[in-house]
Subunit: 203 residues, 4 copies
Amino acid sequence: MATRLSDTDRIEGFSDAVFAIAITLLVLDLSVPQPGRFAAGLLEEWPSYLAYLTAFVTIAGVWVHHHSVFTRVSRAEPAIVILNLFVLLGVSLVPWPTRLIGASLRDGELADQSASLVVFAVPSVILALAWFTLSRALVRRPHLLAEVADTDYMRRNARRTLLTIIPTVLATGLAFFAPLAALAVYLLIAAYFLATSARQSAH
Amino acid sequence: MATRLSDTDRIEGFSDAVFAIAITLLVLDLSVPQPGRFAAGLLEEWPSYLAYLTAFVTIAGVWVHHHSVFTRVSRAEPAIVILNLFVLLGVSLVPWPTRLIGASLRDGELADQSASLVVFAVPSVILALAWFTLSRALVRRPHLLAEVADTDYMRRNARRTLLTIIPTVLATGLAFFAPLAALAVYLLIAAYFLATSARQSAH
Amino acid sequence: MATRLSDTDRIEGFSDAVFAIAITLLVLDLSVPQPGRFAAGLLEEWPSYLAYLTAFVTIAGVWVHHHSVFTRVSRAEPAIVILNLFVLLGVSLVPWPTRLIGASLRDGELADQSASLVVFAVPSVILALAWFTLSRALVRRPHLLAEVADTDYMRRNARRTLLTIIPTVLATGLAFFAPLAALAVYLLIAAYFLATSARQSAH
Amino acid sequence: MATRLSDTDRIEGFSDAVFAIAITLLVLDLSVPQPGRFAAGLLEEWPSYLAYLTAFVTIAGVWVHHHSVFTRVSRAEPAIVILNLFVLLGVSLVPWPTRLIGASLRDGELADQSASLVVFAVPSVILALAWFTLSRALVRRPHLLAEVADTDYMRRNARRTLLTIIPTVLATGLAFFAPLAALAVYLLIAAYFLATSARQSAH
């Protein structure tokens, strides 16, 4: 008997809610300057706006990609439910390094900023591994997929998502001597992932 | 093949969740007075209640307008998904200047209050530009619209939403010498946008 | 043409999201004691647990009542959308006095506690007025109701919700000399409203 | 007349939103280290990451279990709505002890850590009692269940959920001399509950 939990609609609804909350909670990471110097303080905070934008695009990309994947899944099994929870774990962590980056660029030293940017890679690596294992699990379970051709999509998707680890780790290296450059690279990776996921979902 | 991501239902569900979270997070911007003078402190905080109400009406207006637009869209494409994310970016930023206004009216100087009210215009300008480009993108893609007549609606909507920038920028000028008056003007703009969007959605 | 915005489903979905967020944000109002005396500090905090429970039951009651009302509404109009936003304004404010009560019972004087408990009545009064005007607006618009008999329900509901102002204002008087007793009365009012709304929704 | 409130879909939608918000709010409990020692500070915070993971798995388990239960319920009654609110009360409390554990492991003494871990058991005990009474209420109301055989499921589920109190209380005892070991036991209980609920939902 197919249960309602197995409905991918329910998994997608819950996941969408987590994505929406995580993307909206980012605003709590934008800080309030010292009284008496709001104008100057707000301008100096520009790196935390870049961190906000990077986190926003990262979560938006996961949302678009999630639909691109689950539109090809017609039924679920316990393993899929559990692996999807790993995706949600990765997304729900994103506001945390965003807050670290803001705090370290405001008050911290270079070492603090590097540490924050390395932490920013943690959700991305969790997400890459979660997508990889989820896609591979779906390759091994063709009976859960909407169409036969979707096995090819999942095989390519496993490879594609695993490969995102490479630029992420390279940016992590950059974080040790040029934190803002590393942040800019994260933004480019996230924007590229968003754009390719949006294109994929249309075919 | 129409994918599930392309379903505007899914875009609307995710957008509604972001609107609901942003509008409810505003309550975190209402502060707790110093012990020993709650009654006086709470009364002195009235400008931050005005900021709360203005932000509430702003987000409510976007919610109503979003349905007015998407009720006329029957299918989506990657460009529409991306442009809708710009709308969400604008909405999810609203709680931040609301917090700035509360803090600057409590502890800050005139310059701090002016800066906060200028920042309040940022989400409004992002929203105006996002609605404009989204409406224009839909004018150029009549195959995504529910009815032929909706192209006229989108053309008018592009103009109407772009025009909201004018009173917003005028209020920004007012913010430099009369911050509370600027806040009152923002509230009027938001209330007018909410009322006209509610009327539009009924036809 | 009936637009999708006019669908009460969409109004209910957005409202439910606001209710769910407001009820879950209450947890942020529970505080962390001073290091070195967690056990004692946590026990002394019991009045803020009572405030949490009261706020939880208040929002839960609005959720149940909202469905009891909207299950009888088959179509919406701009006025209904706007009046429903007043309900949401009332609900989204609830976490704020809850935080005030916790803070004033922890560090404040009797006057602070009284002020906080008077503020707790504000969302309740907003909600009573919002339900009253929404119910009256539906009495005047029988074409929006699912059945003819629902006009009677709305007429009774307008009276019933307006009457909740009486015990709320009485509890406000009690807040000036016995804040905790006032909080207990609020809890009883909220529990009674929840119970009667749950019963109503079943008929 | 079956009302829309009685629809279990609406109960599930509201509950899912509460679960999604609670699980995403956990990220606010992850702290920002002192400037000048981010790298060291972030490594020392590992017990709060364990607390985060434990809370995440706890809420995820309730989400999966909730569907496993409600997929067998075809109609609701006021008592079911109220008892489901107790489940939501338990879930919405989880972020609070998670914050306590992080704070006490950072700055507190052994007694503070023990107190925090005892508080972590409170939502679990509320959840166990809520599931038990909800399942028993459904055993006594077979007309609400989708199939006759579901009465057996609810009877077993009442026993199973009540039994989770035993390991939880044992871990509470452990909290008084080995807080981190108690946290690890909570994680194992939550992971076991998640795994068994996921398996149950598939049959």
